[in-house]
Each structure stands twice: as structure tokens, then as C-alpha cells.
């Protein structure tokens, strides 16, 4: 149990280390999700031919 606590604490630098990894995870995940969603939406729009002019 203490080893887990030590792991999270990171020798007192926990906040710094984990926020770094957190930001990285969020940014990467966003980069995965955005194109997938855009791709799906675009395909639907092309099928329905929803364009201007």
C-alpha cells in the first residue's frame, strides 16, 4: 500500500509529474478522437449531399 502511495507521491513531485502526464493524455486523446468524429460526420454529410452551392 505504501508503495502505491510513494508511487503517486513521486518523491514530492507528484503534482508536477502527474499533471504533465495528464495533459499529454488529454491532448493525445483529443487528437485521436477529433479526426475520427470528423471523418464520420463528413461521410454522413457527403451521403446526404449537404453542401453549399
Amino acid at each position: 500500500m505504501t508503495s502505491w502511495q510513494a508511487f503517486w507521491a513521486m518523491g514530492g513531485y507528484g503534482a508536477f509529474v502527474w499533471s504533465s502526464y495528464g495533459i499529454a493524455a488529454v491532448v493525445l486523446l483529443a487528437n485521436v478522437i477529433v479526426p475520427l468524429v470528423a471523418h464520420r460526420r463528413l461521410k454522413r454529410r457527403i451521403r446526404n449531399e449537404e453542401f453549399d452551392d
Binding site: 518523491g11 514530492g12 508536477f16 509529474v17 504533465s20 502526464y21 493525445l28 479526426p35 451521403r47
Partner: protein, 251 residues
């Protein structure tokens, strides 16, 4: 003979429907090892590597910071190369690559800046200083944003992509400045420790996870960019017959 075979491959790969088709297996081939390598690197860096004798556990930010920083530079350089191809050979795929890579590269640049300043707080006692390395990395972010903004601003997609190609080529001059900034000016940021391949000044237990993470993130970069390219391609070719047919078939 070899050349003509190469050219045939080049043209076939340049064909948009062909590329759209093969991009799926290629993306998969990048994603799986990429995620595995990155995950192992991060795991090993967080758990297996010993704490640094000076920085303690804070140094573990390196496994995000350094790959992001490298990729920010690599990404822009690759866009410049693609820019040359797009301008000289008018290869549509190269244009699309630039447009797709810019946001991904900007993301990694942002990560390098964010993790760097988080790391800076415990190490240097401040989130941000206006030194050469940090500022030039910030400028790199602006270069990326410039490409994105230019692309958004110009309505005709072809013109927009070609303008971005030219801008990437011109802007690449900043990349060496970032790299050499630590040598040309005395900065807070530390000098090259890993990229001196003759004698890496780093414990091997710390080094291997870093290299693994870096390679993994590079593959992930390729994977994400490929997806961006697919979206761009579909948007640009939305009126073409092959897109219509493909969507019919996949219904």
C-alpha cells in the same frame, strides 16, 4: 528499370483512391507498435527507471517532454519536406500531408511547452523565463498556428494548401535555431545530453525507456497524421465519383 518501377509506385501511391484505401492498414500498422512502444516507455520510465540523483522523481517528466519536443521539430521539418514535394511536383498527397500534420505538430509543440514549464517550476523555480530555447519553441508554436490560420483563411482548398506548403518551407529556418539555441546563448535550459551519440550522458536504465517512448510517439504521430489526411482527402474529393461510389459500397 528500378527507377521506372519506383516511379510507377510513386504514381500509384499518388493516386488518391488508392491511398485512401491503403491508408487504413498502414494506420493500423503504425498505431499498434506505436502505442505499445510508447506505453512501455512510459511504464518503464515511471516505474522501472531509478530516480535521478539530482532531480529526484521530477525527472520522469522527461518521457513526455523530450519526445514531444523532438516531434515538434521533426513534425515541422517533415512538413517542409512535403512542402517542397508539393510545390515542385504538385503532388496532392504532399499538400494534404501538410494540412493534416500541422495540428498534430502544434499539439506536440504545446505539450513540449506545457510539460517543460511544469518541469521548470520545481527545477528552476519559475514556470517561464524568456530564454532562447523556450522562446524559440514558442515561436515554433506560432509557426504551426500560422500554417493552420493561413489554411483556414483561404477559401479555395487548393490555393490554401499550396500557400501552406510555401510557408512551411520558408519557416523551417527556425528549427535549427531551436536546436542550437542552447549552444549559442547561455540559457537555463540544459544542453544536449541525449543527442550526443558518442557518449550519452545518461544512465542506460533511463535512456532505453526514453528512446522507446520517442519512437512510439513518432509512430503515433504518423498514425494521427494519416487519419487527418483521410479526412482532408475526403473533404477535398467530396464531389468526385470515386468517393460517391465508395460510400455507396460501404453502405
Amino acid at each position: 528499370m528500378a527507377k521506372s518501377a519506383f516511379m510507377r509506385w510513386f504514381h500509384r501511391f499518388g493516386s488518391l483512391p488508392y491511398f485512401y484505401g491503403v491508408s487504413v492498414p498502414i494506420a493500423r500498422a503504425l498505431a499498434v507498435p506505436g502505442v505499445l512502444l510508447a506505453a512501455w516507455g512510459v511504464f518503464a520510465g515511471l516505474v522501472l527507471a531509478p530516480a535521478d540523483y539530482q532531480q529526484g522523481d521530477a525527472f520522469r517528466i522527461i518521457y513526455i517532454h523530450v519526445p514531444s519536443a523532438w516531434l515538434s521539430m521533426f513534425g515541422y521539418t517533415s512538413m517542409a519536406v512535403a512542402g517542397v514535394v508539393a510545390l515542385v511536383w504538385r503532388l496532392k498527397l504532399a499538400e494534404i500531408y501538410i494540412v493534416a500534420a500541422a495540428p498534430i505538430g502544434a499539439s506536440f509543440t504545446f505539450l513540449a511547452l506545457a510539460t517543460g514549464s511544469i518541469w521548470g517550476k520545481p527545477m528552476w523555480g519559475t514556470w517561464w523565463v524568456w530564454d532562447a530555447r523556450l522562446t524559440s519553441e514558442l515561436i515554433l508554436l506560432f509557426l504551426y498556428l500560422g500554417v493552420i490560420a493561413l489554411h483556414n483563411a483561404i477559401e479555395s482548398p487548393r490555393t490554401a494548401a499550396r500557400a501552406c506548403a510555401l510557408l512551411s518551407v520558408v519557416g523551417v529556418i527556425n528549427v535549427p535555431i531551436i536546436h542550437y539555441s542552447v549552444e549559442w546563448w547561455n540559457t537555463l535550459h540544459q544542453g544536449p545530453t541525449i543527442t550526443r551519440f558518442d557518449r550519452p550522458a545518461m544512465d542506460l536504465d533511463m535512456l532505453w525507456p526514453l528512446l522507446s517512448a520517442a519512437l512510439g510517439f513518432t509512430l503515433i504521430f504518423g498514425w494521427l497524421t494519416l487519419w487527418g489526411m483521410r479526412v482532408q482527402l475526403l473533404w477535398r474529393e467530396r464531389r468526385s465519383r470515386w468517393v460517391g461510389r465508395m460510400l455507396e459500397n460501404s453502405r
